[in-house]
Amino acid sequence: MLLTAQGLTKQYPLGVTALRGVDLAVGKGEIVAIMGRSGSGKSTLLHILGCLDRPTTGSVHIDGVDVSRLPDRTLPSLRLRKLGFVFQAGNLVPTLTALENVCLPLHYLRLRAHEAARKARAALEAVGLGDRLQHLPLQLSGGQQQRVAVARALVNDPALVLADEPTGALDSQTARELLALMRCLCAERRQTFVVVTHDPLVGNACDRVITMADGRVLPA
């Protein structure tokens, strides 16, 4: 298994409980949707799986490493090397061009500028935006912006890609195209893909759907 979570709970200071003992396992190359209503705990789970947040109890293993026990200072490097993220609309840096946005993770990886640009260009070509390299986010459509975000998530060749409502702001046709693109790219690279969504269209396009309610995973 590439990703396993055991007994995850998350309690916030004011007594709100977001997760109440979540167990899950996702294999290498698997494409999994986490679905549920608002407040069901799916975004909290994604943040914990993505090492952006820590569980109150329980553990998360990525590629055999118990990431829930790693010190804070090592997490950015882990995210940089092992994980890719796609968020809802508006997840590009508005002052950077498409190429520069995709270069960001490589910049933080301290890759040489020309090497980073070469990789970023290839990633943008893979998502069909080879002719939009120097465009700023505002000069791109919503679908194109999300494709840039996908290119950015994949450019450092992560083992696990996490997406939080990536099609939330897109029309159904564009959402379908984006999803097909992500499926295709992850399959090509044997990357594991976990997507949080409330869109059944997204759920149907995945290998498996994990449904959450009230901080728990519902039986399949």
Binding site: P76, L80, N91, L104, P105, Y108
Partner: protein, 387 residues
């Protein structure tokens, strides 16, 4: 990445912040330019007087501030005195009123003067820039300091009119950016004639007048000792200024000026730093989600802090360049005007320009530290919730 674009995205705010720093640095540059000029004059004076003990007569009840030939001879006898340089100094233009850079007719005995230049230290040596010194026995000739030549638009071969007399310009001295730039050197006999002509008492007394100012040339480290010896050897009624005393006074003046520069620098710090801090805090608040995304994709706290620090440093740097640039234009403009009046008032040295720009960049960086730390400390989950 994209620091300038990020700043240009908020042109008005960035522009106003840059302007805030620029105003402070402008004050720093202009004040500093004036201080540099005055410090240069002080340093010139220090160099000149490091080898010289200035001797002036108090003049007694008749207020005749003159040294007689016997006084000069007594000075020469004092152990440690290598040479006695004598001047007869008169205001060049009695009708000029207050002058920013006073002009003097300085009567010298040329062999005496040139020997003193050799013994008075390399830093204080007055050298010819154009023309030649006058020949022995020549009268009504002059060698001009650079400020006089500039102000009166005189060159070699022209005629200087001073105190109703005409002097042919035979030479121009190198610019010293100090007091001698305002001197018109003339043969001592001409100066003596002008001095006695203007004083009925001097004419009637027919004193063996030697000079109005005398300088005993000494080794710099023997200044105080020889000054004490002169005090014991000369008759009463002389004011003596040892090199150490003059150096101390000059040092105090210099300290005062440096304090003035630091004062104007402090204004720059307060005005500039506050506006940078304000701008950067707003930038952090506006870009919370952007920070969240960057942290999610792997930016460390250091990466985020560096980006904000770089932005605030660039703001400071732009303010510094603008402030020093405008300061340069103002200084050049005023100098162009005042040079015509005799001497430039400001001196924009490379070290001052670099200090202004560097100081502004450092100011920007320092002011950006707290906002950058706040940005770096943002929790990525909280930051991502912002939209």
């Amino acid at each position: 990445m994209g620091i300038l674009r990020s700043l240009l995205r908020r042109r008005l705010r960035t522009g106003l912040t840059v302007l805030g720093i620029a105003v402070g640095i402008l004050a720093f540059t202009v004040m500093g330019g004036m201080a540099e000029k005055i410090n240069m004059i002080i340093r010139g004076g220090q160099a000149y007087f490091s080898h010289r003990i200035a001797v002036r007569s108090t003049g007694g009840t008749l207020r005749l501030n003159i040294l007689e030939a016997g006084d000069v001879a007594a000075l020469k006898q004092v152990p440690g005195v290598k040479w006695v340089e004598t001047h007869i100094m008169l205001p060049l233009d009695e009708t000029a009123g207050f002058e920013l850079a006073p002009r003097f007719l300085v009567g010298v005995d040329l062999p005496n003067f040139l020997k003193a230049q050799q013994l008075g230290g390399k830093d204080a040596e007055l050298r010819l820039h154009r023309g030649a010194w006058w020949q022995p026995g020549q009268r009504k000739v002059t060698v001009l300091g650079s400020a006089i030549a500039r102000k009166m638009k005189l060159k070699v071969g022209d005629t200087l009119t001073a105190r109703g007399e005409l002097f042919t310009v035979v030479g121009l001295m190198e610019e010293t950016l100090s007091v001698p730039d305002g001197w018109a050197l003339v043969p001592q006999e001409d100066a003596r004639a002008l001095l006695t002509e203007g004083s009925a008492i001097l004419r009637s007394l027919d004193l063996p007048l030697a000079a109005t100012n005398a300088y005993a040339l000494v080794e710099p480290d023997e200044g105080d000792t020889v000054t004490n010896r002169i005090a014991e050897s000369l008759r009463r009624g002389f004011l003596l200024y040892s090199p150490q005393q003059l150096s101390k006074a000059a040092g105090q003046a210099s300290t005062l000026l440096t304090t003035a520069i630091l004062g104007s620098g402090a204004i720059a710090v307060i005005v500039g730093a506050l506006s940078v801090i304000n701008t950067m805090f707003i930038a952090v608040a506006e870009r919370t989600r952007e920070i969240g995304i960057k942290k999610a994709i792997g930016a460390s706290r250091g990466d985020i802090a560096r980006e904000f620090l770089a932005e605030s440093s660039v703001i400071g740097l732009m303010g510094g360049l603008l402030g020093v640039g405008v300061g340069f234009l103002i200084i050049e403009g005023i100098n162009w005007y005042t040079a015509d009046q005799g001497t430039p008032v400001f001196l924009l040295t490379p070290r001052l320009a670099l200090a202004g720009i560097g100081f502004a960049a450092l100011l920007g960086a320092t002011a950006g530290v707290v906002p950058a730390m706040r940005a770096a400390a943002l929790d990525p989950v909280d930051a991502l919730r912002e939209l």
